[in-house]
Every structure is written in structure tokens, then in C-alpha cells.
């Protein structure tokens, strides 16, 4: 791959690799905290390549959530630009940005955030429904995915009737049902024991990784670091490590 993708930190904003899934340059993000302003990200440059499972790791408060929010288009950076598959997403209008997310990004939230009053298939079908796909067709497509995730028989159950693992599979199905080019996954294993966590990560690797799809996983669960293709470590708003494996000092 292009060497530029692996270069750490200090490079000036400039030419992105056209093949990069995400190309972030000079990301700065400040938060207002009363009178003072806290700088959470100090000029992050980073590229995410498709076909890889990229981990973003770091302690609480290291800025990893802020970074991932900015990279997937739900939080405006104070400065810097983000290109997702060549599109400078923060130059889009608000509604174009929303539409861009709807068609290109799949989300798996830490608490799943499933809608409690609709069944698993409908929950999984939400992105399609939001795109305007007819309800039955969306359900059918979601069911196919649920079958692949081995919970096809739970399609008609409400989220509260499912176990935690099953709910997470529904959440994964929702993230993938519209075939996005970028999947963002927030702490997928936080609530699971070690073996379940590994099973989920195996499953993710099996269904989420595709040659033209990037997959970003935000986690601080060091039990699964060994499953990463690439790990970006963040500390106090700066990238401290970018490589295929985690250095031991982490």
C-alpha cells in the first residue's frame, strides 16, 4: 500500500491516497467547557484503508470517540478536512451529509440502541426503511442478513426478548443491511466476556470485511487487539502509535 497511509502524525495536509477509505488531515477539535476551551484533538492526520479491520484504541478521554465521530461525519471538526471515499464530507450541506451517512456508513453502537417496540427484522431494516425501501422488501433483505448471522429464527422477536449477544447481532445486521462502504463499531465487546467477545469479532471479520469496505473499531479492550489488521493508538488527542500490532507498552 501507499507509504503515505502509514506515516504518523506530523505530515502536512496534502494529497490523499485516492484508494484510501478515509483520509483525515489536520483534524482539530475544541470543546467549550464553561469559560475555557479544551482542545481534544491536536491536528490528527490519518488514513483508513479499505479491506482492513482498523482499531482505534486509547484510554478514556484520549479523544478516540471524538475522532471516530468526526471521521464518520456526525461531528464537525474545529479545523481540518475529512475525505470519505474521496468525498470531502464537511463541505457537503447538512442534508447531503445526512444522506451520505445513510448510504455509505453503518453504525454499531455500544448499547446497540435498538428500537424496543419493533421486532428484530424491522430493527435491522431501519437503514433501508430510512432510505425509502418498501417495508416488506427491507424486512426480507434484513432477514437474509439475520440468517447469515445465525439469528434468522429470532427475526420476529422484540429486542427485549433477545439475549445480549442476539441483540448485538441485530445491531450488526442493521449496520450492514444497506451494504455500506464504511462500518463504524463502538466498543463491540465491552459488555461481553472474553470468549463471546472473540466470537463477535470473528463474526464481524467474517461479514464486515470486504475489499471495498473499511471497518473501524473503537475499543480499549486489549483482549482482542490481536484480531486487528491495524491499530491506531491515541493519547491526549495525538496519535502515538500506528501499526499492525500493539506495542507492548500499551
Amino acid at each position: 500500500m501507499n507509504a503515505a497511509g502509514s506515516i504518523v502524525g506530523t505530515r502536512a495536509i496534502g494529497g490523499c491516497d485516492p484508494e484510501a477509505a478515509i483520509c483525515a488531515r489536520g483534524i482539530v477539535r475544541d470543546f467549550e467547557a464553561g469559560q475555557s476551551t479544551i482542545r481534544v484533538l491536536h491536528g490528527i492526520d490519518c488514513d483508513i484503508r479499505p479491506g482492513e479491520m482498523t482499531y482505534i484504541v486509547g484510554e478514556s478521554g484520549s479523544g478516540k470517540t471524538t475522532l471516530i465521530s468526526i471521521m464518520c461525519g456526525i461531528l464537525y471538526p474545529t479545523a481540518g478536512e475529512v475525505r470519505v471515499f474521496g468525498t470531502d464530507i464537511y463541505k457537503l450541506s447538512d442534508s447531503d451529509l445526512v444522506r451520505f451517512r445513510l448510504h455509505n456508513i453503518g453504525f454499531i453502537f455500544q448499547q446497540y440502541n435498538l428500537i424496543p417496540s419493533i421486532d428484530a427484522a424491522a430493527n435491522a431494516a431501519v437503514p433501508l426503511i430510512a432510505q425509502g425501501v418498501p417495508r416488506e422488501e427491507a424486512r426480507e433483505r434484513a432477514k437474509v442478513l439475520l440468517e447469515r448471522l445465525n439469528i434468522g429464527d429470532q427475526a420476529d422477536k422484540l429486542p427485549r426478548q433477545l439475549s445480549g449477544g442476539q441483540q448485538q447481532r441485530v445491531a450488526i445486521a442493521r449496520a450492514l443491511v444497506h451494504a455500506p462502504r464504511l462500518v463504524v463499531c463502538d466498543e463491540p465487546t465491552a459488555a461481553l466476556d472474553a470468549s463471546s467477545g472473540r466470537r463477535v469479532m470473528d463474526l464481524l471479520r467474517e461479514v464486515a470485511i470486504a475489499p471495498d469496505r473499511a471497518c473501524i473499531i473503537v475499543t480499549h479492550d486489549n483482549r482482542i487487539f490481536d484480531l486487528a489488521d491495524r491499530i491506531i493508538a491515541l493519547e491526549d488527542g495525538r496519535i502515538t502509535h500506528d501499526g499492525t500490532a500493539m506495542p507492548d507498552d500499551h
Binding site: D119, E136, R139, D156
Partner: protein, 332 residues
Amino acid sequence: MLRNLSFSRQILPVAAVIGLLFAVYMIAIGLPDRSLAEPAEQPPKAVGALANAPRVAGAGVVEPASEVIDIGSALSGLVTEVRVRPGDKVAAGEVLFTVDARAARASLRQAEAAIGEARAAIAEASAAQATARQQLALYRSLADPAAVSRAEVIRAEGEEAAATSRLGLARARLAAAEAAAAAARTEIERLTVRAPIAGEILAVNIRPGEFVATQGGGNSQPFIQMGQTTPLHVRVDIDENEIARVALGQPAVVSPRGAAELHVSARFVRAEPQVVPKRSLTNSAAERVDVRVLQLIYELPPSDAFRVGQQIDAFIPARGKPKDAPRAQQGA
């Protein structure tokens, strides 16, 4: 997809819509009928040419053309015979009722007896006078004065004078008796009450055996009421404020109370010269009214719809001129 019916998502909204339709229906049929209604019976109204012309309305009563005549009696006494009934048509002079005349007839018979007696006395006196005169003439025709004594002649002359004066007395008694008979006949005639004009008997308030008094009390009923009922007249009261507007001489449209759909045209007869306090036409005896009215008399055409004493509503044309100008402005 849940195939079973959801209460809150399907049944409830449908029930809500049905409930709303039910409510709309209930509200619609519950709305009160506040529409104005046409009067079921015809109220009196101006018709024909008067309907859209200036007019004056008045209320009135029907009366005979002669007005109502309350028949009285010249003498008091018991009623012996009533010859008419209400509704009878009578000619002028026809006997209406008679009052007990026995006393008058007795004095008539008395007078007739006196006449007979007087006539007899006249006959007797005439005979005596004739006898006396013959005797006297005989004595006078004797040439020999000594044939009859002077005393005899004086006696004969005295007899003749006495017979003559007796005859005069008897004649005077005859005249007196005849006068008495005439007086009795007049009395009898006065005890028979006759119709003063041709007309219709409207009311008979006496019956044989009742006493009629010449001094009628203030509120006593008249013995007999009659009047000329062909034609009938109506007496229409016009509010004094409207007098100036009335077109005198124009025919009026008259409807009887309770039969307002009947309209007849009545010919103007006259206006009473005096404006009088409005008489009660509202059946209340105690009514006191401070309104004065002009009374107009109209003649009704022949009709069965009107009876004497009936109340009527009348519409009379108004003089258009003074009120026309403001009305035209109002109409504009």
C-alpha cells in the same frame, strides 16, 4: 410482521374514527331546529294593491248601517206578548211586543158606556124639547088670549127651555165620553211597541210576563235591539297619530278576526267628526287606555262572513305623499 391485530395501533384509531363519526352524527342530529316557521294560521295582512303601498291599519267592529237601535217602551207594565224573534226581518211599524193593556181597555169600555148614556140622554132631551115646543106652538096659535091662561103659557115656555138645556148637557156629556174613549185608545196603542224602521231584530231580551219600566237603568239591557243590517257597516279605530296619513274616501280591506284569509273591500261611508278615547276591544272590562282614536265608517259588501259586533282588522290606504320621500331614501 405481527399478524395479530394490535389494540393500540389498529383497533384504537379505528374506534376513534368511528367514535368521531358517531359524535359528528349525534351533534348533527342534536342541533336544534332554530329555523323560523311560517305561521300555521293566516294572520291578518294587507293584500293586493295595499300590500306594497303606504297603508294604515286599524281594528274595528261590525255594526248595522243604522247603528244598533235599542228599542224602548213608552209606558211601563207587564209584557203580554213578544211578536219577534232574533234574526227576524221586520218592516217599519210592525208590532214588536205589547205591554199589558187591560186597564186601558177598561177605561175605553167605560168611556163607550158613557157615550151610550149620553146618547140616550140626548134622545130623551130631544123628545122632551119637541113635546114642549109643540105645546108652546099650540098655545101661541090660539087667537083668543083668554083661551089659555097666562100661567099656562109660562109653564109651557119653561118646559121648552128646560128640554133645550137638557139636550145641550147631554151633547156635552157625549163629547166628554168620546174624548175619554179616544184617550183610552191612544193608551192601548202606546202599549204596543212597533219597529221604527225596517230592519233585523238583533237581540230580544224580554219575555212575556216581564215588567218593563220606562226609566231604564244605566246598565240594564235594552228590551229589543234591532238595526238595518243590509248593508253592514264597520267602525274602524285609527290611532290618533295616524290620522294625518289616512286617505279618507278610499275603500278599506277588511278581514274578520280568525278568518284572516278572507279579504273584502269596504266602501268608505264617513268619518266620525269627533276623536274619542279608544274603546276596549281587548275583552278586558277594566282596561283603561289613554289613546284616542278616529272612527271611520265603511260599508261592507253583502257577505255571510260578517256579523254585528264582530271584531275585524282593516287596512286603509294611506296618503302617500308626506311619507314617500323618507321611504324612498330608506329603500335606497
